[in-house]
């Protein structure tokens, strides 16, 4: 189903698509600041690679698999818009604006997963995983939820901007990968604190900023629902941040900046499916619950001993579930075309639907990701060597270091340059020290 858009709607959707595209680098910095200095570039690169790979896949067949004519509610016809065939001649901007907007969702979903396996996986395995997971998990699930005729959406499950298709989906995959890949050396006994909290705060800020496009752009029009989603995205996030900080203050004695950043993301995740269905006070409540729940949930990994390094499970899976289920309670029937939540006298119907949608997507993601992860483990292997992990994955996988702030030269001898052979070098450079 391709929507018709007037110029105001088109402006808003293209703006939103740009905002959401920025979220992936935002995530890269958010994640990158949280790992140790020796792994910052690899962490950033896992997200950037998703922009490259999923960006290309989306144009080739991803859009078609998600938005093509439904084959039994399970998958869009991958051949229908192969290479976006036919869309360039459509004079209505709706088609290509939809391609634009959808691409950014696919990209970030894959990138989200990477936080669970920081500092220890082969870049090549991550690349292959991205291709397979996007194809076998994301594109189908996106079709189920949003595709015309997709089976989850058809049931009446509400997922405004991706609580199920994106956050539960990615969070479940993250849990599987964390377990299959195994913990970082030293997990649980050595503190691994964020190396650059200013990057984390910047990343959180870019995420929040971009998320206005994510949520309010999902109205696919510049209308009252978009404005409502915007306000809900503000207030739920604000409340979640406060919730997380209060938990920290009471429990740990200090409210941290990492807590603020985490609370922001928890709130954003929570409100994502619900942004078009709740009134602002309902959103405030949802945000508060999401912030508090996730603040506790991030500790589960120590309890159950899986190294979900940057808390993708604790924030995205848990936050996604909170948001998706609370719609069943808080959906405000005063909003046009909306469901009615339990608290507004709507009974358990919507709540049941929400649970069905959420757990179906989660179950599929868990199983499919497990199969992919085990296959890759057998074929390519996931982990870099222990020496490389200890020495730093940036050097091992990318031959680079994140920072060089020293005024001293510690290096020498240009050995090879790209269009040169050794013979091209000046005599001095050849002999070296």
């Amino acid at each position: 189903m391709i929507l018709e858009l007037n110029s105001g709607d088109t402006a808003w959707v293209l703006t939103s698509a740009s905002l959401v595209l920025l979220m992936t680098p935002g995530l890269a910095l958010f994640y990158g600041g949280m790992v140790r200095a020796k792994g910052v570039l690899n962490m950033i690169m896992m997200s950037f690679l998703s922009m490259g790979i999923v960006g290309v896949l989306w144009v080739l067949y991803g859009y078609s698999m998600s938005s093509g004519t439904s084959i039994g509610g399970l998958i869009g016809n991958p051949l229908e818009y192969l290479g976006l065939a036919g869309l360039v001649t459509d004079p209505d901007p709706g088609a290509l604006a939809g391609v634009a907007f959808g691409s950014t969702f696919a990209i970030i979903t894959v990138a989200l997963i990477s936080g669970a396996i920081a500092d220890r996986v082969k870049f090549s395995t991550w690349a292959v995983f991205s291709v397979i997971w996007a194809t076998l998990v994301y594109f189908p699930v996106a079709h189920w939820v949003w595709g015309d005729g997709g089976w989850i959406g058809s049931l009446g499950v509400i997922d405004f901007a991706g609580g199920t298709a994106i956050h539960i989906n990615a969070g479940a995959a993250a849990l599987v990968l964390a377990i299959v890949v195994g913990p970082r050396i030293g997990f649980g006994t050595r503190p691994m604190r964020p190396h650059n909290m200013t990057l984390v705060m910047l990343g959180a800020a870019l995420l929040w900023f971009g998320w206005f496009g994510f949520n309010a752009g999902s109205a696919f029009a510049a209308d009252a629902i978009a404005a409502l989603a915007w306000v809900n995205t503000l207030v739920a996030t604000a409340a979640a941040m406060l919730g997380w900080l209060v938990v920290e203050k009471l429990r740990d004695g200090h409210a941290t900046s990492l807590g603020a950043a985490s609370g922001i993301v928890a709130g954003l995740v929570g409100i994502t499916p619900a942004a078009g269905s709740l009134n602002p006070v309902g959103s405030l409540l949802l945000g508060l619950v999401a912030g508090v729940a996730c603040a506790y949930a991030v500790g589960l990994k120590y309890k159950f001993n899986y190294d979900d390094s940057l808390d993708v499970v604790g924030v995205h899976l848990v936050g996604g579930l909170v948001g998706t289920l609370l719609i069943g309670l808080l959906a405000d029937p005063a909003i046009p075309d909306n469901a009615t939540g339990l608290f507004y006298g709507g009974g358990f119907g919507q709540l049941g639907l929400q649970a069905l949608g959420a757990f179906s997507a989660m179950a599929y993601s868990l199983v499919a990701t497990l199969l992919i992860a085990l296959a890759l483990k057998a074929i390519m292997g996931w982990r870099v060597s222990a020496a490389d992990e200890l020495g730093g994955i940036d050097l091992a996988e990318h031959s680079e270091a994140g920072y060089d702030l020293s005024p001293v030269y510690y290096s020498s001898k240009v050995q090879r340059t790209l269009v040169l052979t050794k013979d091209d070098l000046p005599e001095t450079a050849k002999t070296g020290a």
């Binding site: 031959s399 680079e400 050995q415 269009v419």
Partner: protein
């Protein structure tokens, strides 16, 4: 009194620290340094130009001890720091005249 200085691998600091503390050492001072030696530095790539980092991150540990303790302590550090691979570092010992604790002004063994 003696000043025992050890250049060790950064990853071994935790071990060395634990070993020293278990041995009864109450204090030490550490410095981030860079070492050149038999161990080869890693190679970095910058837009296709390759170069080696000659100097490798190391940690210097300095411990003041009574004369009698010095040799034992070298053994303790050796134990904690050794991984068996090239680049494990060096330990050396220097004679120290005066030692004073700034807070109290007391000197000699009591200052350590």
């Amino acid at each position: 009194m003696k000043l025992v200085t050890a250049i060790i691998q950064p990853e071994q600091l935790e071990n060395v620290q634990k070993a020293l503390v278990r041995h009864g050492v109450a204090g030490m001072t550490i410095t981030e340094v860079s070492g050149y030696g038999r161990q080869r530095g890693h190679v970095e790539v910058y837009r296709g130009a390759e170069y080696t980092i000659d100097f490798i991150a190391k940690v210097k540990v300095e411990v003041l001890v009574d004369d009698a303790e010095a040799e034992t302590l070298v053994g303790v550090i050796l134990q904690g720091a050794r991984t068996g691979s090239v680049g494990d570092g060096k330990i050396w010992v220097v004679d120290v005249g005066i030692v004073v604790r700034v807070r109290t002004g007391e000197s000699g063994s009591g200052a350590i």
